[in-house]
């Protein structure tokens, strides 16, 4: 396993040529991640616009509070082996859908006349789930799939449920902003990690 993991290491990418179908799969997943990153950017902008001032004002930056069930990409993420990074990406993408759903439900109360935002949130949850599954499938194809049980999604679901039940509207708005931001960050991180698997990708 370690040998196979080693073959996935960026240092060994240039010397090992991936199977064509695997390469196509990586490329496809990478493209999906790239596309979803753009969507996530649009989602974040639209979310901010609909929360009212001071959301969206230049100086407004709520603290990056931790979200239960979903960790932020750590600074040490880049130093991890690529398969480990992909595992973390997949886990985060699996944890995001319930959080995005919770955000959507809250926004349905706050902005019922913003169907585009609601649709984007709904799509984001579905797309995060799909990208996570694709990354996991890729890891499986690469022989680096998770072996242990996945505990994060249920935890995230519980956290999302508690978050959606939060009493305050303002904390819910901030939480939604945080979730959308994390969604964008994890997609960007996933796109970067998948890019390293591509032939000719950054070393």
């Amino acid at each position: 396993m370690s040998r196979r993991e080693g073959s996935l290491a960026p240092q060994a990418d240039s010397s090992v040529s991936l199977l064509p179908h695997l390469e196509a799969k990586i490329r496809q997943t990478h493209s999906l991640a790239h596309l979803l990153t753009k969507y996530a950017e649009q989602l974040l902008q639209e979310y901010v616009q609909l929360q009212g001032d001071p959301f969206g004002l230049p100086g407004f930056s709520p603290p990056r509070l931790p979200v239960a069930g979903l960790s932020a990409p750590a600074p040490s993420h880049a130093g991890l082996p690529v398969h480990e990074r992909l595992r973390l990406d997949a886990a985060a993408l699996a944890a995001l859908p319930p959080l995005l759903d919770a955000v959507r439900r809250r926004q349905a109360e706050l902005n019922p006349r913003a169907p585009r935002l609601l649709r984007r949130l709904e799509d984001a949850a579905r797309q995060a789930r799909a990208l996570g599954a694709a990354v996991e499938a890729l890891l499986a194809a690469l022989g680096a799939a998770n072996r242990g049980p996945r505990a994060e999604p249920p935890a995230a679901a519980a956290a999302a449920t508690s978050a959606s039940a939060a009493s305050g509207v303002f904390p819910a708005k901030v939480l939604g902003l945080r979730v959308c931001g994390l969604y964008r960050e994890w997609l960007s991180r996933t796109e970067g990690d998948l890019g390293q698997l591509l032939p000719g990708g950054p070393a």
Binding site: G52, P54, N111, S167, F170
Partner: protein, 1109 residues
């Protein structure tokens, strides 16, 4: 009470003093001073005694009696013990006016039952070891103070969600005997520093029982923001108590505080408030709050206890959908809340309830003004039916204001009347609307479906449709729209009984056979509320029936009179009742019958050879069902010799024909018409009019304006038709489209004869009403021609209304003059185009002769008369205009060189022969010589000073002519030359004239070559090269020289040399030898006139000739 005792003592003392004073009035006045001093000392003594008495009483008796009550039943009276009393002092208190009740006690207060109104004497006797002292007091209820017991707050609670404090206390009313009003004063304090934020009064009534009272207060600041304190006091306002009513003491303070946890919180959380209200937000924090924002607006901080801060927002505006954010920022975090500013629900407007199917009631309304609140804060509508007690609730996100809301309410069995109340509520309030409906009167049926048509017969069909709903108990009113092709639609209402199975069937009759109908249906109820929408359209063609009438028939004899042409019109669709397949025609007389059968439909005439017998023609139309009734017409035409052609003009679309009633006409009148320009037979169309009619309007789509039609009115008798009137007419007259063609038949010097032709009927386009003939002087291609007809003042117009007139003679014209002639025709429809022509009249020779002869005769007569006069007065004329000029040669005073006058070779001594001297003075402008005062003739040169510099800059010539006087003698000619001036006296220029005259050529060859006399006048008018050369030569000459340029002289006299210079524009008259010529005295004639030339006759020549003579 104390003052009462004092007053009594003073009164007693004054009595003593007055008793002592009274005997002093008896003593003598001498003793009065001694007595007065005594009295004064005595008064002082008494006063000191009294003061001592008072002090001793003060010091020794109980004093400061004060009574209070807290329940109006018992008075608690207390006093101050006399000074020096020990503990063992006893007091006896007696109340005089109350059956002399006395109390013995050891303390300085006593509780006595409340006394009724009035004054009471209270005697307090203090008993102690060294004696006793007594004090009397007067006690009245007015001196008693009512001070309630200090109230106590039973409970102080708070609803933090609404920032409301709830206060509960007991009024202890059971201790008061009477109903009394109680004024409570409640004080709310905030923060640890107990800042007063609210002080309110609260009124209650004591009812003899202990009563709990509640008071609540909504704080403008969330209660979580700071600690709040509450205390209370009261004052009883009893009508039965006349004493002082004083406030109780404040109750023990109670407070409400929120126990903050470790987290920073912002309050209020997610509050919904009314737009325009004020609200306070606070941030309960353990760390320093740096700033606060509402939306994007910074707010000033209000510091509360600890690090907590608050902000106050005034007149908040409506929030966005997701609310208005309020954010507090600390050093490393932000905290916030959201406020939703909106409106309470507007009263539901236009609430209305109806049903489509009598199964379900649909109530709809307009929400009115938007609340601005959505989601969980949106308006919830509840439709409540009061008779049944049932309700339905509706909640949805706010729709746009103009969108209608709907709620569905299931109908209840056997209930027709419904009383609906629509309640709308949101966190800010509620509103409601009600409506009472009889639902059977509010039926708006669904759109009928499955609409079908079936034939019954040629005039009736059945209609069936499906209408969902349970209408078994009511009648339906349905409307059927029947639309024939290209005709007006018809609507029929039918009432049918409602059914449960929703299928309906109705018969529709009174239709036309063989007619295509477009049918549709809609329904309502008998108690009309609304029509349903129309069902789909259904087209249906009814079946055929036999034609209801025979065709409209007419007949005409052919031009040769042998054949009878039978015409008939196709039956209209409502009479044909089907497709006409063929026609049968039969002609029957008493003797024979001829038939033409099965004439196919498109053919609508038949020709039968008949003799002149009377026939009855019968025409029958046939369709697939059967034959029409025959239509009959007689062939005979009754002659009528009394016929005139009449004219009629229509009304735009048709022509009105009228006639007198004729009882002989037993059957229809027939009007036939045709285009008058068409060839025979004349039949465009015909119309039958009932015999009792006397007028009809003939209208036809074929009528065209400007087309002449012939109309023939026939009357129908039993035996046949008789032509009654022949009419020509137009439905509308138009202007002619062509101009009448006219020619000039004859032309003389003063008249023109014009002839024109008729305009063809087709181009006339109306009844000709006349011609307009314009004429006036004019030539082709002049602007005048174009305005000929448009009212030029020189234009004459003749209106010719006699249609038979075809010629016109225009008289009083001028001879040999071009005339412009225009002719145009007009009808009532307007003026036609014009046709124009130019004609030149002939020359008038007699007039010309007269015109020539008269001036000639006049001229001759004038000439003869003038000649006679001149002849008779010739001496006078000669003396006046042509006097003799002395001959210088005969003058001995002068001697001329021979060159001056030919025939004299040497200078002669001037002989002073008697002569008539002439004085001619020629002066140059440079000369300073004095002018000769005499008649001056200013030459043309002198009148044109601007020419002097070019032609003769050095000379200013003044020629004076004074025959009788010699003012100066001529000085030495040499001196004249030196001075640039010359003065010459001529004697008889005329005598010198002949010898001095030279041909022009000679003058040019030797202009100044001689040293003799030269004319002194130089006319520089013609500045030719030769002139310039001549001037140069003149400058070189010495002695006398002529001062005029000979070249410019034009000798016009027949007896003088004549200069004809083509380059010379100005011709001068006179002698080349002397400027002192008579011609200068006579104004020159127009040189351009040919008569002025020497070849013709001239007045000048007349005199010249005469002079020569």
């Amino acid at each position: 009470m104390l003052y009462r005792s004092l007053t009594d003592c003073i009164a007693q003392t004054m009595d003593i003093y007055l008793c002592l004073k009274r005997p002093s009035w008896m003593v003598a006045s001498k003793r009065m001073r001694t007595a007065s001093n005594f009295q004064w000392l005595l008064s002082i003594f008494i006063l000191l005694y009294l003061m001592n008495q008072v002090n001793s009483q003060k010091k020794e008796g109980p004093h400061d009696l004060k009574c209070v009550t807290n329940n109006l039943q018992v008075w608690d009276c207390s006093w101050k013990a006399p000074s020096g009393t020990s503990r063992g002092t006893n007091y006896e208190v007696c109340i005089e006016n109350r059956s002399h009740s006395c109390y013995r006690l050891e303390k300085t207060n006593i509780k006595i039952p409340a006394l009724s109104h009035g004054d009471y004497e209270i005697i307090i006797n203090s008993l102690h070891d060294f004696g006793s002292s007594t004090s009397k007091f007067t006690l009245n209820e007015k001196n008693v103070s009512l001070i309630p017991d200090t109230p106590e707050i039973l409970n102080l609670s708070a609803d933090f969600s609404t920032s409301t404090l709830y206060l509960k206390w007991n009024d202890r009313g059971s201790v008061f005997p009477h109903h009394s009003n109680v004024i409570w004063e409640i004080k709310v304090l905030r923060k640890g520093s107990m800042e007063l934020v609210k002080l309110v009064t609260h009124n209650t009534t004591l009812n003899g029982k202990d009563t709990l009272h509640h008071w609540s207060w909504a704080s403008d600041m969330p209660l979580e923001c700071a600690i709040h304190f509450v205390e209370i006091r009261c004052r009883i306002d009893s009508l039965h108590f006349s004493g002082r009513k004083e406030w109780s003491d404040w109750s023990p303070v109670k407070n409400i505080s929120w126990t903050p946890d470790s987290q920073t919180k912002v309050f209020p959380q997610d509050k919904v408030i009314l737009v325009g209200s004020d609200i306070t937000f606070c941030c309960v924090s353990q760390e320093k709050v740096l700033s606060a924002l509402i939306g994007h607006t910074n707010c000033p901080l209000i510091h509360l206890d600890g690090e907590s801060v608050a902000i106050k927002i005034h007149n908040i505006s409506v929030s966005a959908s997701s609310g208005t954010n309020v954010v507090f920022t600390t050093e490393d975090n932000i905290f916030g809340t959201v406020v939703f500013a909106g409106y309470p629900p507007d009263t539901p407007q236009q609430l209305d309830c109806e049903t489509h199917d009598l199964k379900e009631i649909i109530c709809s309304w307009n929400p009115g003004r938007s609340t601005g609140l959505v989601g969980p804060r949106a308006t919830i509508y509840t439709l409540y039916e009061s008779f049944s007690g049932k309700y339905v609730r509706y909640k949805r996100d706010e729709a746009p204001t103009n969108e209608s809301y709907q709620l569905f309410f299931q109908m209840l069995p056997n209930q027709q009347i419904y009383n609906f109340t629509l309640n709308a509520h949101n966190p800010l309030g509620q509103s409601e609307s009600t409506i009472l409906v009889n639902i059977t009167e509010k039926v708006y049926p669904h759109t009928p479906t499955s609409f079908k048509v079936k034939d019954i017969n040629s005039t009736a069909v059945t209609l069936s449709w499906h209408l969902p709903g349970n209408f078994a108990k009511i009648n339906l009113l349905c409307q059927i729209e029947i639309k024939k092709s290209k005709s007006v639609q018809e609507q029929r209402n039918v009432t049918i009984k409602g059914v449960e199975n929703s299928s309906y069937l109705v018969a529709l009759d009174k239709l036309n056979p063989y007619t295509l109908y477009t049918l549709r249906i809609r329904c309502s109820t008998e108690a009309f509320w609304k029509w349903s929408k129309w069902s789909n359209k259904k087209q249906h063609l009814t079946t055929e029936a036999i034609p209801s009438k025979g065709p409209d028939t007419w007949r005409e004899w052919s031009s040769d009179g042998k054949n009878l042409i039978i015409y008939w019109k196709p039956l209209p669709i409502n009479e044909a009742n089907g497709k006409i397949l063929s026609y049968n025609v039969s002609c029957s007389s008493d003797e024979e019958t001829q038939s033409l059968s099965e004439i196919p439909d498109p053919q609508h005439k038949a020709e039968i050879r008949l003799d002149k017998n009377d026939y009855i023609i019968s025409v029958v139309a046939k369709n697939s069902v059967g034959s029409s009734p025959p239509s009959k017409i007689a062939s005979m035409e009754i002659p009528n010799d009394d016929l005139e052609i009449e004219q009629v003009v229509g009304m735009g679309k048709g022509i009105l024909l009228t006639w007198h009633y004729d009882p002989n006409m037993t059957c229809d009148y027939v009007i036939k018409w045709c285009n008058s320009s068409r060839l025979e037979p004349c039949l465009m169309d015909w119309r039958k009019v009932p015999s009792n009619s006397t007028e009809t309007v003939i209208e036809s789509d074929q009528f065209r304006p400007g087309v002449r039609y012939n109309f023939f009115l026939y009357g129908c008798r039993n035996q046949g038709y008789q032509l009654l009137r022949t009419i020509i007419g137009y439905v509308e007259e138009l202007a002619p489209i062509v101009a009448p063609n006219f020619t000039v038949e004859d032309t003389s010097a003063d008249s023109i004869l014009v002839k024109w032709e008729d305009i063809p009927v087709e181009e006339l386009r109306g009844f000709l009403r006349g011609y307009l003939f314009y004429f006036g002087k004019g030539e082709r291609d002049t602007s005048k021609m174009r305005v000929l007809v448009s009212g030029h003042s020189d234009i004459k117009v003749k209106n010719i209304t006699d249609m038979s007139q075809k010629t016109l003679r225009i008289a009083d014209l001028q001879g040999k003059t071009s005339y412009h002639l225009v002719l145009r025709a007009y009808t009532d429809g307007g003026m036609g185009p014009e046709k124009s022509m130019y004609v030149v009249t002939k020359e008038n020779s007699v007039g010309l002769i007269i015109a020539i002869l008269i001036p000639v005769a006049v001229a001759v007569i004038v000439g003869v008369v003038t000649s006679i006069l001149c002849y008779r007065k010739r001496e006078w004329i000669k003396e006046t205009f042509y006097p003799d000029i002395p001959n210088p040669e005969n003058c001995k005073a002068l001697q001329f060189q021979k060159s001056v006058c030919e025939g004299s070779n040497a200078l002669k001594t001037l002989e002073m022969n008697p002569c008539t001297p002439n004085n001619v003075e020629v002066l140059e402008t440079r000369s300073a010589f004095p002018k000769i005062e005499d008649t001056e003739i200013i030459s043309p040169v002198a009148e044109r000073p601007e020419d002097r510099s070019d032609a003769e800059p050095e000379n200013h010539v003044v020629v004076s002519y004074c025959p009788p006087i010699i003012e100066e003698e001529i000085p030495n000619p040499a001196a004249d030359e030196a001075g640039g001036a010359a003065q010459v006296i001529y004697i008889d220029v005329q005598s010198m004239y002949q010898p001095q005259a030279k041909p022009e050529e000679e003058q040019e060859n030797n202009p100044v070559g001689g040293a003799g006399y030269k004319p002194q006048m130089h006319l520089p008018i013609n500045s030719t090269v030769e002139d310039i050369a001549a001037e140069e030569d003149l400058d070189k000459t010495v002695g006398y020289r002529p001062q005029a340029n000979v070249n410019t002289w034009n000798l016009v006299s027949p007896d003088s040399p004549r200069s004809i210079d083509s380059n010379s524009e100005i011709v001068s008259f006179g002698s080349p030898c002397s400027i002192n010529s008579r011609q200068f005295l006579i104004p020159p004639k127009d040189e351009d006139s040919p008569k002025s030339n020497g070849g013709g006759w001239s007045f000048t020549n007349f005199f010249q000739n005469k002079s020569n003579d």
